[in-house]
């Protein structure tokens, strides 16, 4: 009997969150292949949109997959390539970043970037009583980053929270460290930092520690890296909360896709993941010490 092949196309592990994505995809592959011997999961990773488009072609033409789970590097450029997979008669699940044309995918498992920004803004606004000076460390200039920042700025609009400056830290902890160092030299008073991503948070923490200004401010990160979750769990004043944007969503998407082939029920629709706020109280539910992310 022919195996059912499920192709999974995701970005390569070039930063922490993507690393978590890779990890969860690989774990799900093992789990699924063990549970269903007639299913073969094939993971392809890409370092850019063009390469991902190549991978999609290869999954169809040489691997002859039956279903595709794709987390698009970027929405726009991958819309047409994914559409072609669909037109080849494959079942398509899109994860996290929606395509630019409606109606292509069978299943959409969505993260919610504007919501991540909004929730973070909401927390900071509340913590500071609607008044204070903050700095923002952005990611790599992409749609994801843009959506998060927009969501954040919209939320704090009208309050007395002043954004001293925003700089790109490229979802990289070294850049986070250096940008924060420079913010600290520049601004004598900072009430809060929105780091948007936990890789950046790690760098920010060290910079603040080095400047000995830990009591002055707090940081809101994002994604749910285990190191940060641990800090939240331990009640670290510097990182009171974290906003989830779990890379495990890829595993969820893979599971849903498998259901299409192993169950009789109709599998379709949209599954929107919230931007859960991790606090000291609920942190232990989100702490996975064995995960690499």
């Amino acid at each position: 009997q022919e195996k059912i092949k499920i192709g999974v196309s995701i970005p390569a592990a070039t930063h922490g969150w993507a690393g978590g994505l890779n990890y969860h995809a690989a774990e799900a592959e093992k789990r699924i292949e063990a549970a269903y011997p007639n299913i073969d999961v094939i993971i392809a990773t890409a370092k850019g949109a063009t390469e991902q488009a190549n991978d999609l072609e290869d999954l169809v033409s040489v691997q002859n997959i039956d279903a595709l789970v794709v987390l698009p590097f970027e929405s726009d450029p991958l819309t047409v390539p994914v559409q072609q997979v669909k037109q080849a008669g494959k079942f398509v699940t899109v994860v996290d970043r929606g395509l630019s044309l409606p109606g292509i995918e069978d299943v959409y498992v969505a993260g919610n970037n504007p919501e991540l920004g909004r929730v973070s803004g909401e927390y900071i606004k509340k913590r500071l009583d609607g008044k204070g000076k903050i700095v923002i460390l952005r990611g790599i200039p992409t749609v994801v980053d843009e959506e998060r920042v927009e969501g954040f700025l919209k939320e704090i609009e009208g309050s007395d929270i002043e954004v001293l400056d925003m700089k790109h830290a490229n979802w990289n902890r070294d850049d986070g460290y250096e940008v924060m160092q420079d913010f600290l030299s520049r601004f004598p008073k900072i009430d809060a930092v929105w780091a948007q991503d936990d890789d950046i948070t790690l760098g920010v923490i060290e910079a603040i520690k080095q400047a000995d200004r830990t009591d002055e401010m707090f940081i809101v990160g994002g994604a749910g890296m285990k190191d940060i979750i641990k800090r939240v769990m331990d009640g670290d004043k510097l990182t009171p909360i974290d906003v989830l944007y779990p890379p495990s969503m890829i595993a969820t998407a893979m599971d849903i896709t498998v259901l299409k082939f192993v169950s009789n029920g109709a599998v379709e629709g949209r599954y929107i993941l919230g931007a859960t706020v991790v606090t000291e109280e609920n942190a232990k539910n989100f702490y996975f010490p064995d995960s690499p992310f």
């Binding site: 390569a12 592990a13 890779n22 690989a26 094939i42 993971i43 392809a44 990773t45 370092k47 850019g48 949109a49 063009t50 390469e51 488009a53 190549n54 991978d55 072609e57 290869d58 999954l59 033409s61 040489v62 691997q63 002859n64 590097f73 970027e74 929405s75 726009d76 450029p77 991958l78 819309t79 047409v80 390539p81 630019s100 044309l101 790599i140 200039p141 992409t142 749609v143 980053d145 843009e146």
Partner: protein
């Protein structure tokens, strides 16, 4: 002292030269054998067509890079330049939809713009490095940052998307075919042939070789060194715009992450093909095969999931080194010399 002349010695050296020219080709054949042995689907016409179509981008850019490198220069800005040109094309074409509609004119204007920008960007690289007497490495590192910033700025940090109606008109440029051969492959072939003719059959190409081999000699031979060098960057720019013209209809968008690291791939294709990084010797066909080899390696890695994805890069690196080692053909000779 008169009389006797040397002889012999020629035969053996001629043989090794032939082998050297065949080197990249042999390495490619070995890669194809490897691919087939891993997965039968490798040789399917669909897959082969995919490989050749994909290698068109990098291949076309690498043809330009062959000129630059042969003349002793280097261009690190090609990836950013491609992103910038794509972005500008998209902005302008989208803007024209209202007045001209999503028809051929709009696309043509986009194409012309692309070429103009390519020539301009190349000329900047060339003029700043020759007139400013700044190492090309630095100049193109600088313009790499500049072009990339410009596209990020145009896209406001996000993505520039081509109007979906224009995509319909423009689509065949990437997805169409002529007598079964995909358009990008035809364009690649045309660029390669043109590049070959220009590099090997015209005075201009001859001058590139001479400058890369010895600038002083070139200058003493009444060659306008700065002018020729600048021209190589312009050619590189034109190649980038041609690549962009077939790239835009594929993904229909441009962002700050478009074309990242293409410069490295293009240079690698050139060097794999046997062109010398220090200049003075260039080989267009080698470059073409180098580009196809790089794409094929990526494709082969997608043929199997035996290798952990994390190790893809390692396998790729290893294959590149081994392929170049095999194609050098020097392993057959003794050390000597």
């Amino acid at each position: 002292m008169s009389g006797l002349e040397r002889s012999g010695q020629n035969a053996s050296s001629r043989f090794s030269i032939d082998f050297k020219a065949l080197g990249p080709f042999l390495a490619l054949v070995l890669l194809f054998i490897l691919g087939t042995s891993i997965n039968d689907a490798f040789l399917s016409s669909g897959n082969l067509s995919n490989i050749f179509t994909r290698s068109a981008f990098i291949g076309i850019i690498a043809v330009g890079a062959t000129f630059v490198i042969t003349a002793g220069g280097i261009d690190l800005s090609v990836g950013s330049m491609a992103a910038f040109i794509s972005g500008a094309m998209i902005v302008v074409m989208n803007g024209l939809v209202e007045t001209l509609g999503p028809g051929l004119e709009t696309v043509l204007i986009g194409v012309v713009l692309s070429i103009v920008l390519g020539i301009g960007a190349g000329a900047i690289n060339g003029l700043v490095s020759t007139k400013g007497k700044i190492e090309a490495f630095i100049v193109t590192l600088g313009t790499m940052g500049i072009y990339r910033s410009l596209v990020t700025y145009m896209a406001d940090g996000g993505t520039l998307s081509l109007d979906f109606e224009i995509r319909g008109t423009y689509r065949p440029v990437y997805y169409g075919d002529l007598l079964g051969i995909p358009v990008p492959v035809l364009v690649f072939l045309a660029v390669a042939v043109a590049g070959y003719v220009l590099l090997n059959m015209t005075p201009f190409g001859r001058k590139c070789f001479a400058i890369g081999s010895n600038e002083q000699v070139a200058r003493y031979s009444a060659i306008h060194v700065d002018r020729v060098k600048t021209m190589t960057y312009v050619i590189q720019g034109i190649c980038v715009s041609v690549a962009t013209i077939i790239y835009v209809p594929r993904l229909g968008s441009a962002s700050s992450s478009t074309g990242v690291l293409w410069e490295l791939e293009a240079i690698a294709a050139v060097i794999i093909g046997g062109t010398m990084l220090k200049g003075g010797y260039g080989r267009i066909w080698g470059t073409v095969i180098g580009a196809i080899m790089l794409t094929t390696i990526g494709n082969i890695l997608n043929l199997t999931d035996a290798i952990s994805n994390y190790l893809n890069g390692a396998v790729q690196g290893l294959i590149i080194i081994v392929a170049v080692f095999l194609q050098r053909g020097d392993w057959r000779r003794k050390k000597s010399k």
